[in-house]
Every structure is written in structure tokens, then in C-alpha cells.
């Protein structure tokens, strides 16, 4: 079965016309907006009002705007990780579970070091390390199952998503339950010194912003300028030939999964230390799936992922405002889904037109 995203033949004349490219993207965005407006009408809502309230919800106040950036951070980190696996031709759909495992390990580390009296910043650092380890561990599993068991990473990853979530639930209701009665709202909160402080007057921690920028820049450099990136690309396009050419494909597959897991784990740790302060059943907040959509949209370009991720984050945050119109927060998913759908379709139409010319 060939499930890898293979880049088909892209005739070279395409690459020159950035304007046509831009027009095509714009068409996709417009189509997506038309369809989501239709959906809003079906849901008996005023589309324009809905979009306005999303904008309000995302950029209306400093708090809201910084919330968007705080939400951009894990998304851009997740997307960066996924760019490595995408480049290697892998669909790491297990990303969501890897973020959850990152959160689980982070919370676990806080529980261990809670009473030791170590310096809080050291404990936070250790918790991030633990989170990274958790993400890597959970990402290597589908990698190993693919390489040594022949199980397509899509199914391995999906299965592990559910297993990770179940593990979190088991911990919340079992060994890590709150004193008194266990509750689906999560474990006990971590102590205040362990929470990353916000920039005064905002909803954003400076630390996580810096981490996100480092991760995004690192990803762009690795993928676009190094032998490592080129080799990953070769494997992604034709792993058999890459192996014959002398690239140790197994090692690179695992490296791609490992890097992706590393970033997933960091994203999980960030969510624990700067957002939720505890382990909840939905500890990944859907950032893994959202990251997959962003990675698909940007078509392997690390720079664009920062922009698109910001847009998606704004949608997700602004979207919560819709509850005042009696709509639920799945709207962001609908709009994001339509966007990617139309980008894929419109891009296909463009390729078809060009091959016909």
C-alpha cells in the first residue's frame, strides 16, 4: 500500500509564477469562506456577525491577543515536528497522543520532584526533559512498529492516540486522583512556583514564546539547508532508492519520529506549565491534529507554517466567542477543515490545468 505523500511531477514552470500561486490560494480561501458561511446559515446564524465575533474574540483585547500567541506556541511546535515526519514521507497521525504523553510525563515529573525542595526552575527544567522523553517514547512506538512490524504509521499512531488518552484517564481516575473524589476535570494543580509566569497584563509566558521561536528556526534550518534535511527529503520521496544510494533509512525514519516526538513532548510540557497546570483527559487540546492540517497546508515550507499556525490559533481562540451566539466551538474545526480541503482541491485543479497546457 502506498500511503506516503509522494510529490508528483510538478512541472517547473509552476514555480515561477508566485502571483498565480497567490491567486490560487486566495480562491481556496474564498471557497472555504463561502462553504462555512453556508454552514452558518444552516445553523441559523448570521455569517458576518459570526466572523466579526471571531475577530473580536481573537484580537479584541490584549488578553485575547496574547492568548492567541500562547495558543500559537504549541501549534507551531507541533507543526515543526510534523514537518520532519512529513518530509520523510510519514503521516505521524499519532502526534496528538505524543503530546498527551508529553503532558503525562511532565506532570509525573512534577509529582516526583514536588517535595524534594529543589530549585523550582530546575524542577521545571527536569519536567520539560521528562515531557520530551514521554513524547519521544510515544513517537518511537509507531516508528518501530512500522519498520519492524510492517504496521502503517497511520494506524499505529491512531491506535496509540487512543491508548495515550486512556492512560491519562486511568491516571486521573486512579493513581493520580485528587484527594477526595476522582474527577474528570483532571489531577491536582501543580504548585505555583512550577507555573511559568505570564508577562504582566497578558496571557502569555515569555519562556514558551522563546522556545517556539527557537524550534521554528531550528526546523527551517535543518530542513532547508543541511544534508540531514536533504536526506530526509530523499527518503520521503523514494525510500528504496535512498537506501540503495547509501542513506541508512531505518535510522532516519526513527530520527524523524524521534524529533517529532521531542517537539510533541515539549508542546505537552508547555501546555501543563503554562495553561492547564494539571493533567486532563484531553491533554493534547487537539494541537496534534491541528498541526497536521497546518503542515498539509504549508506543503513542507517551514516559514509559512508560522504564519498559518498563527491564523489557525486566532481561529481557535476567537471561535470561543461564538458561544454567545448559541453556537459551539467546533466551528473553528469546520472552517479549518474546509480551508485545507479546498487548498488540496484547488491545488489539484491547478496542476491539472498546467499539465493540459
Amino acid at each position: 500500500m502506498s500511503l506516503e505523500p509522494r510529490a508528483g511531477q510538478t512541472p517547473s514552470i509552476l514555480k515561477k509564477s508566485t502571483w498565480i500561486d497567490f491567486g490560487i490560494r486566495l480562491t481556496a480561501v474564498i471557497l472555504a469562506l463561502v462553504f462555512t458561511s453556508l454552514i452558518l446559515v444552516i445553523a441559523k446564524a448570521q455569517p458576518l456577525e459570526a466572523y466579526k465575533s471571531i475577530l473580536q474574540g481573537a484580537f479584541g483585547t490584549t488578553i485575547k491577543f496574547t492568548s492567541v500567541i500562547a495558543s500559537w506556541v504549541p501549534l507551531v511546535i507541533a507543526t515543526s515536528g510534523l514537518l520532519f515526519t512529513f518530509t520523510a514521507g510519514l503521516w505521524n497521525i499519532g502526534m496528538e497522543g505524543q503530546i498527551v504523553m508529553g503532558a503525562v510525563f511532565t506532570v509525573g515529573a512534577f509529582r516526583i520532584f514536588d517535595e524534594t525542595g529543589l530549585d523550582p526552575s530546575l524542577v521545571i527544567f527536569l519536567a520539560f526533559l521528562a515531557g520530551a522523553a514521554g513524547g519521544i517514547f510515544w513517537a518511537l512506538l509507531p516508528g518501530l512498529m512500522k519498520i519492524y512490524g510492517g504496521v502503517n504509521e497511520i494506524f499505529g499512531g491512531l491506535g496509540l492516540n487512543f491508548v495515550a488518552k486512556t492512560a491519562a484517564i486511568w491516571l486521573i481516575f486512579g493513581p493520580w486522583k485528587r484527594p477526595g473524589v476522582a474527577s474528570g476535570s483532571g489531577t491536582e494543580w501543580i504548585d505555583i512556583p512550577f507555573r511559568l509566569p505570564y508577562i504582566p497584563g497578558t496571557n502569555l509566558s515569555l519562556t514558551i514564546l522563546i522556545i517556539a521561536i527557537i524550534v521554528a528556526v531550528f526546523t527551517a534550518i535543518m530542513l532547508k539547508g543541511t544534508h540531514f534535511g536533504l536526506r530526509l527529503k530523499a527518503i520521503g520521496k523514494n525510500d528504496k532508492a535512498a537506501y540503495i544510494l547509501g542513506i541508512p533509512t531505518t535510522r532516519y525514519f526513527l530520527l524523524a519520529f524521534g524529533l517529532c516526538g521531542l517537539f510533541a513532548g515539549i508542546a505537552g510540557a508547555i501546555l501543563v506549565t503554562s495553561k492547564q497546570y494539571s493533567l486532563i483527559p484531553d491533554a493534547g487540546f487537539g494541537y496534534g491534529f491541528l498541526g497536521l492540517l497546518v503542515a498539509m497546508l504549508v506543503n513542507y515550507h517551514p516559514i509559512w507554517s508560522a504564519v498559518i499556525a498563527f491564523f489557525f490559533a486566532a481561529l481557535s481562540i476567537g471561535n470561543t466567542e461564538l458561544q454567545y451566539m448559541g453556537l459551539n466551538s467546533y466551528f473553528a474545526g469546520v472552517l479549518q477543515g474546509f480551508l485545507v480541503l479546498f487548498v488540496v482541491l484547488v491545488d489539484g485543479v491547478r496542476k491539472r490545468l498546467v499539465t493540459k497546457l
Binding site: 509522494r6 510529490a7 508528483g8 511531477q9 510538478t10 517547473s12 539547508g225 543541511t226 544534508h227 540531514f228 536533504l230 536526506r231 527529503k233 530523499a234 520521496k237 523514494n238 528504496k240 532508492a241 535512498a242 537506501y243 540503495i244 544510494l245 547509501g246 542513506i247 541508512p248
Partner: protein, 487 residues
């Protein structure tokens, strides 16, 4: 059925694949179509069978102008084609293969069809069991199956495209006998080939193609030199038969046994000397590929040992072999050898060893430009590999080989290439033999094997012959062995 082509033209982009083709094939004859690869003979046949539509011109069947717009149309009009690689369905049963695509009610009458297959097989002295799976048949048997199927469908014109590639001497004899019998029954047979000898032996008339044009029609008695002149426009220069084989053994195989789920090769012993070229002959699927992959470390033998320059490499993996100077050029260039979607430059960066983190674009482009010149590759450093022609892809593969190599393994190194490219490629490879590089290669072209090998191994159904000296053997002798005679 009488077939007549009138002013057929077919273009592919800038290539004029069929240039004003006019000729007539009378019914009940065996018409030879002779020409090099790329001469336009396959294109014309695909126009006749509805795979392509001619850009202009007309086809007449029994003096009636017809439009053939799909392969199905062709079969309905009584034209059937046996493709070089039989267009059948390997994981399915013979009887299902027979039925697939037939018209009729929802439930086919399997009993009746089974009887028909048995009857037809007997008539032509084939042994085909309706219940066996196609993937268990040899290429020759799959051809027989296709011929039976087409006859069963009632074709009056049978086109065979290079049918003798990959079948045994026995099967070839049987095939020729069958074709003669069919022609005597009034069927029109079109035999497409680039092998002079076969065409001379079988055909009652021959049309010769060169570069998209019909250069002439010839009736017996045939003159081989005339054919060669017509096909190539000049007498072909014969490639040099130089040898650089030394007496120093470098690779030693001791009691090697290989296995996959279909085939078992037992106790192969062989020494490969420095600078030696060894050709592997045999029908496709007789074990040559297993043997090559064993020599690269891609497949692990189930018994015996492999010694490279005195070191035991048994059970080592491909990267270890590669480090020791082994290179592998697979037959499926775009599947296993090159990476579609990447440029020539990127390929060269990948193939070179490196120690720094960042790619040095400038030196990579310089290197690529050097190699493009040295290997006469038609393309630029920024060309995507899949945009190159087959011949240029093969040149690129050669250009990607590292400098110091001890052993090069090639599958069908010149398949699909024109004769001049083939000669050029071999001269390039022989240069490497001077530096003590050994070569092991497979080919379905016996002439190529005898021409370029020092010694030859013949594979037949899991058996491997003792090394045969290429200077003293003949195409005939090898053909017998490939067909299972004289073991």
C-alpha cells in the same frame, strides 16, 4: 483479415513517432515488424490496438475504414495484442484471467470456460491448468495463456510485441510452431521484434522501421546485411571485446544457498576475479535477482558464506557491503535507483560522502556540471530526474557511482536503450574494470551477455550452471541451458 495503414502520423510532443506510415498486411501471413527501440513500431501497434489515436491517417480492415478508439474496440474488431509483459493478473487464477473483461451475464459459465481452456491447451500442446494461479506460471506460460485467451475471444489478427524476451528455447519453438499453424488457418500474425534471426526464421514478409519511418518492405529470401543497413542506416560498429580479468580472486562464494517463497538455489560456489565481468543468463525469475541481491547484502543467504577480499561478509547488511566498495544498479530505475522529484544536483549531493552539517550548493553544482559533461547527460543541474529520458537516467545512475569500487552489480543495464547508448555504457563500465573493479550483471539479451562477459552463469528453475567461458560458448548453447536442456 487484411490490414491497411494509410498516412498514419503520430506525435508525442516534439517526437514524430510515426511519420506517414503506409503499408498493407495481407491476411493469413506472418508479418515481421523490425526496428530498433524507439523506431516507432510499438507506437504503430498501439495505434492499431486502440491504445493511442493517430493524429492523422486511416486504418482499413478488409478494405473498410475503421476508427479504433479503445483496446476494447480493437478486440471487438478482431485485433488482439500480446504485450511484451503479458497484461494479465498475477494474483488471480487462470480461469478468472480468462473471464476478466468478457461480456455476458452476471454469472459466467465457469464449467464451460474450463472445458474451453483445456481443449485449446490440448490443441496447441500447452499445459495450462485453469485452476492454478497466474503468478506461479513462467513468462512463457503466461504468453501461452494470453494467446489462448485472445484466440478464444475470436481475434483474427494477433500482434506479438517482442514475445521471445524472457522465454525458454523450448517455449520459443512451441510459440513459433503455434504461430505458423495459426497463419495457415488464415489468421494474420504481426510479429514485432528487433531480433533479425527470429524475424528471418518466422516471417513471410518484413517491414523495417527507423526513427518513426517505414524504410522499406522486404520479402524472402532475406539478406541480413540489408536488414542491418535498413535498421541503422549504416553498418553497426561492433563493440570491443576487451577483457581486464586478472587472475586475482577477490570475491569467494562458498556453498551459498538462497531461498524465497518460490525458489531455492543450492550450494553455489564461485570465485570472482578482479576486473572480471560475469553475465547471468536465464529466464526472468530463475534466481538471478536473488543472486545479485545476495551479492549486495540486500538478501541474506540461508547457508554458505560470502568472502570479500578475505573478509567474511555473511549476514552483513547492504551498508556494510556498500562501504566495502559494492554498488548496485537496479533495473527499475525510477523505483529503486533514482528519486523522482529531486534534481540531478540533489542526487549528486546525496551520493557523495560528507562530513559537514550544511550543504555546499556551489561545489555540488560544480560537481554535477562536471559529471553532466563527462557522461553526456542531456539535462541541467536543476533538471528533475524524472524529466530525463530513459537513456539519460541510466547515464545519471552510472554518474552517481562512487569512484573507488570493487564490485558493480547491474540488472539489465541497457534495457530500453538504443544500441549506441548501450555500447557507450559498456565502454564506460569496461574502463572501471581496468582498475580491478568486477562486474556482475543480468540481461535477457544473450548477445549482450556473450559480448561483454568473461564468464557466464546460467540460471534455470533454481539450478545454477558452472561458470561458462564466454569465448567458447554460443547463443545456441546458452539458449538450450536456459530452456532446461543439457543440465
Amino acid at each position: 483479415m487484411k490490414i491497411s495503414f494509410q498516412h498514419i502520423n503520430k506525435w508525442f510532443g516534439k517526437v514524430h513517432a510515426n511519420n506517414d506510415i503506409n503499408f498493407t498486411i495481407p491476411s493469413g501471413t506472418i508479418q515481421g515488424i523490425l526496428g530498433e527501440n524507439g523506431a516507432g513500431k510499438s507506437t504503430l501497434m498501439k495505434v492499431l490496438t486502440g491504445f493511442y489515436q493517430a493524429d492523422s491517417g486511416e486504418i482499413f480492415l478488409d478494405d473498410k475504414a475503421v476508427t479504433i478508439s479503445s483496446p476494447e474496440d480493437a478486440v471487438m474488431m478482431g485485433i488482439g495484442m500480446l504485450h511484451q509483459d503479458p497484461l494479465d493478473f498475477p494474483p488471480m487464477k487462470v480461469i478468472d484471467n480468462f473471464l476478466l473483461g468478457t461480456r455476458g451475464g452476471l454469472f459466467p459459465n465457469r464449467k464451460q470456460v474450463e472445458k474451453d481452456i483445456t481443449r485449446l491447451s490440448q490443441e496447441f500442446d500447452f499445459q495450462i491448468n485453469p485452476d492454478s494461479f497466474v503468478e506461479t506460471l513462467t513468462v512463457g506460460e503466461r504468453q501461452q495463456l494470453e494467446i489462448l485467451r485472445l484466440l478464444w475471444l475470436g481475434v483474427k489478427v494477433l500482434i506479438l510485441d517482442e514475445p521471445t524476451t524472457g522465454i525458454s528455447a523450448n517455449q520459443k519453438e512451441k510459440l513459433f510452431a503455434t504461430l505458423l499453424k495459426l497463419a495457415s488457418q488464415g489468421l494474420t500474425v504481426i510479429f514485432v521484434s528487433h531480433k533479425l534471426e527470429e524475424v528471418e526464421q518466422l516471417c513471410s514478409r518484413v517491414a523495417v522501421f527507423r526513427q518513426g519511418q517505414l524504410v522499406g518492405e522486404v520479402m524472402p529470401p532475406y539478406d541480413t546485411d540489408q536488414f542491418v543497413y535498413m535498421m541503422f542506416g549504416k553498418s553497426v560498429e561492433v563493440a570491443d571485446k576487451s577483457t581486464f580479468r586478472s587472475e586475482v580472486p577477490y570475491i569467494k562464494l562458498e556453498n551459498i544457498s538462497l531461498e524465497d517463497y518460490r525458489l531455492r538455489l543450492r550450494d553455489i560456489n564461485l570465485e570472482i576475479n578482479c576486473g572480471e565481468v560475469i553475465g547471468l543468463a536465464g529466464m526472468e525469475g530463475s534466481g538471478q535477482r536473488l543472486f545479485l541481491r545476495m551479492l549486495t547484502g540486500l538478501m541474506r543467504p540461508v547457508g554458505g558464506s560470502i568472502l570479500y577480499g578475505g573478509h567474511n561478509f555473511t549476514g552483513r547488511t547492504y551498508p556494510v557491503f556498500q562501504k566495502a566498495g559494492v554498488a548496485y544498479l537496479p533495473a527499475a530505475r525510477l523505483e529503486e535507483g533514482l528519486i523522482p522529484g529531486m534534481t540531478l544536483t540533489e542526487h549528486f549531493i546525496l551520493s557523495e560522502e560528507h562530513h559537514e552539517l550544511f550543504v555546499n550548493q556551489k561545489s555540488a553544482i560544480d560537481l554535477t556540471e562536471d559529471r553532466i559533461r563527462e557522461f553526456y547527460i542531456k539535462g541541467t543541474p536543476a533538471s528533475q530526474i524524472e524529466q530525463l529520458s530513459g537513456g539519460n537516467q541510466q547515464r545519471a545512475l552510472l554518474a552517481l557511482l562512487r569512484n573507488k569500487l570493487r564490485l558493480i552489480l547491474m540488472e539489465h543495464p541497457t534495457r530500453g536503450l538504443d544500441i549506441e547508448s548501450a555500447i557507450w555504457i559498456w565502454s564506460k563500465m569496461k574502463e572501471r574494470c581496468k582498475d580491478c573493479t568486477s562486474i556482475v550483471f543480468t540481461s535477457s539479451d544473450l548477445d549482450e551477455i556473450i559480448q561483454y562477459s568473461d564468464r557466464i552463469l546460467v540460471f534455470f528453475g533454481g539450478l545454477v550452471s558452472k561458470p561458462i567461458d564466454a569465448d567458447t560458448t554460443t547463443v545456441d548453447e546458452l539458449g538450450q541451458l536456459i530452456g532446461g536442456k543439457g543440465w
